[in-house]
Symmetry: C2
Subunit: 435 residues, 2 copies
């Protein structure tokens, strides 16, 4: 088996057993990290290695984990901005998305995969339709993903039934596929788009398939109010009563929460995907992240779709998470840099049930890691690279990316995807959709 040794590199492992940053080495065999240490690489590592890489001028860290998105929506980037959520969804996104074919989903997702790899994301969540086409992109790109057929249940019973079956079939076909890089979640789209009895069927399916659940929750104040009007409960209690939190669950957004809801999420070990850029852009509000963290909730980060972001650079979410909550709370000590970086890496892995698989550099974990070129003005002086990663870096600093021990990006060039073709095909798909 080939064995890669990286030496003379700078490392941020996100493993609390290690110093927060150090000069050192890392060995990768097959799809795993098999050794990691400070200082000079041991002589036997050098002799054992089939490939040696000089890490000088590079900062190695875990690949980023993007815990909420709709990859195919990158086809709609910039189509409609500066509108409110319901107007944006109902008058712009949904009518255009209704025209999406499997081909559109494939090329839109490929466009997103290219952007995510180039900006350092190694694991992403995708909730959409035509999911087998997204799975193909994951298979080909080499990324790790947690995929889920997001089902909107505002439709006749026979259509509801077909959608649920589609979600279940997708799970059966793809969970564990692509050398284990693909895992699957079960997703009613949101409490406001799925009637309670329909949500119950997803909970049941998740139990039968032994899979986690994912949904949008409490993104806007209007949807919380509607939930109370329609069902008598706020969304957290509503979903809890429907049994969703008896499964491992990841909720996206969770912007509008009261104290009781935060306590219940913590008690039920529900993870949150915080999407600060999308929430700002759609004026949904500012999630109570410092309170969620204080309550012990696992808070991870997501870009949401590119149509409400409008990029997939998770470094922007990390930076935004660190900045926004300070300014809004008036407390400059909340969400310190190291916490924001955990949200983008190890908390993301935990939110997806992938702790111990990805999100850290650690012997025994899958070799999902990225290298940033740090010989640049915005990384000088060498005070604190954790701070620099959070407050100064951007996705474009990423030079190399590996997932499952396989290199996907070298010197900024994609190794598994044909970027030129993807850009052209994505443009072609958009022009047809608009046309």
């Amino acid at each position: 088996m080939s064995r890669l040794l990286i030496h003379n590199g700078f490392f941020i492992t996100m493993d609390e057993q290690m110093p927060s940053e150090f000069q050192g080495w890392m060995a990768i065999e097959g799809d795993k990290i098999v050794g990691l240490g400070q200082g000079q690489a041991p002589e036997e590592e050098l002799t054992q290695a089939s490939e040696v890489m000089d890490g000088k001028g590079l900062l190695f860290m875990p690949g980023l984990v993007n815990t909420h998105g709709h990859a195919a929506m990158s086809l709609l980037r910039g189509l409609a901005d500066d509108l409110n959520l319901q107007d944006w969804l109902q008058n712009h996104m949904w009518p255009t998305e209704a025209k999406f074919t499997g081909d559109d989903v494939y090329w839109g997702s490929a466009l997103s995969a290219a952007e995510m790899i180039k900006s350092g994301t190694t694991t992403f969540v995708d909730m959409y339709d035509h999911m087998h086409r997204v799975a193909e992109v994951v298979e080909q790109s080499g990324l790790r993903a947690s995929l889920t057929r997001g089902v909107i249940g505002l439709c006749p019973e026979d259509v509801q039934k077909a959608k649920l079956e589609d979600a279940i079939q997708f799970a059966k076909d793809w969970h564990g596929a692509a050398d284990g890089r693909i895992s699957v979640m079960i997703s009613p789209h949101a409490p406001y788009t799925c009637p309670p009895d329909y949500i119950l069927k997803f909970v049941e399916a998740a139990h039968e398939l032994d899979l986690p659940m994912h949904t949008h929750m409490s993104e806007s104040i209007a949807e919380v109010e509607q939930n109370v009007r329609d069902y008598g409960y706020r969304p957290v209690e509503h979903l809890d009563r429907l049994g969703m939190f008896s499964r491992p669950t990841l909720v996206a957004h969770a912007v509008h929460l009261n104290d009781e809801e935060i306590a219940l999420l913590a008690e039920r070990k529900v993870a949150v995907s915080h999407n600060p850029v999308s929430n700002l852009k759609l004026a949904s509000g500012v999630a109570r992240v410092p309170d969620l963290l204080k309550a012990g909730v696992t808070v991870s980060l997501g870009t949401d779709g590119a149509a409400s972001n409008n990029n997939l650079d998770l470094f922007q979410e990390i930076s935004m998470a660190a900045l926004l909550h300070k300014g809004v709370s008036g407390d400059p000590t909340v969400v310190p840099a190291a916490e924001a970086l955990r949200m983008g890496t190890v908390h993301g892995a935990r939110a997806l049930g992938l702790e111990g698989v990805t999100g850290q550099l650690k012997t025994g974990l899958k070799a999902d890691f990225i290298a940033l070129a740090i010989t640049k003005p915005h990384f000088v002086p060498h005070t604190d690279y954790v701070s620099h990663l959070v407050y100064a870096a951007r996705g474009s600093d990423v030079a190399h990316v590996w997932v499952n021990g396989k290199q996907l990006l070298r010197d900024g060039q994609l190794l598994t995807l044909d970027e030129e073709k993807i850009l052209a095909e994505a443009e072609r798909c958009f022009q047809r959709l608009r046309g």
Copy 2:
């Protein structure tokens, strides 16, 4: 005189007489834009040109204007994060800055100049000490700058006197220097760091020298309250009573304003430098930008020093300005993309009295412009490049930069500064300061 013709490019001019974006051409002779148009370049332009550049795959726009900063503070990037403003200033910044020599200011400013050019800023404001060393950096780098000796007046009278004389001498020596690329402003540092009678002397000097004024104002709530306690007025009325607004004035931050203050700033035509990232990071709060814009105040954008940002990428400020105020106000229509882009370009020029000089692509203006490489996933599809620049772009997309008709960056490489030497010298300065 050499004449450059750029054709086949994509243009966003920020000139409201032109379409918001178009395919076209631009001609530059000496330091000026001498022609600009849509479609194919006219035959006579092609024959007249001494150099022709193919603009395919590039988006040309005005260089960005960063209206508040402390360039030398990039030496302190990442030194102290996640602290409140007064703690950060008094216990970390000021003690280290007290050790700054002219050499430190030179290399810190050069580090910032390198970062600013590489991320598309062509004009910047700098308020600091040892300003002739900053002016040297401007001279050598080819950037345009509005420089000002920022004076803290909490010192004995003879030191106050010497500092004021230094500020005046700097203005006399450097205003209009470097082929007119340098202009000078007069700056008492802030109402809370300069006694009223001392501020009066700066106002007097600004009148004598016929120069605009620049100061920090109402950055934190504590300083507003202190102003009321010490002087009986909130900062806007305080400065107005001291006659500052009888000069063209640019105030940095302006976070904590009441309705009367906003009305008075509009009436006095005081321009604001909005520094959203720094204000969030120091938990100073969120400026009332939608209200300022509604009142007709010129709102521009600044990074502040790299120690409270922690980079100098003005594209991040543009994006933050467009995102933040939507989320905080709950209104997704405020600060639309085009407005945020104006804040980073033409409003910045106006705030510095440089309207008609820079901030737009327009015949007769100085040739200060940048070109972004847009054949990248995050610029696809071609829906709306104004939206893409604001919500998807980052400074690293900038490939080429020109100021006063002279190219400063080519394919991401600095042409006027020695990047490798600057990074090494900045690191050396920091290690000595920390020492």
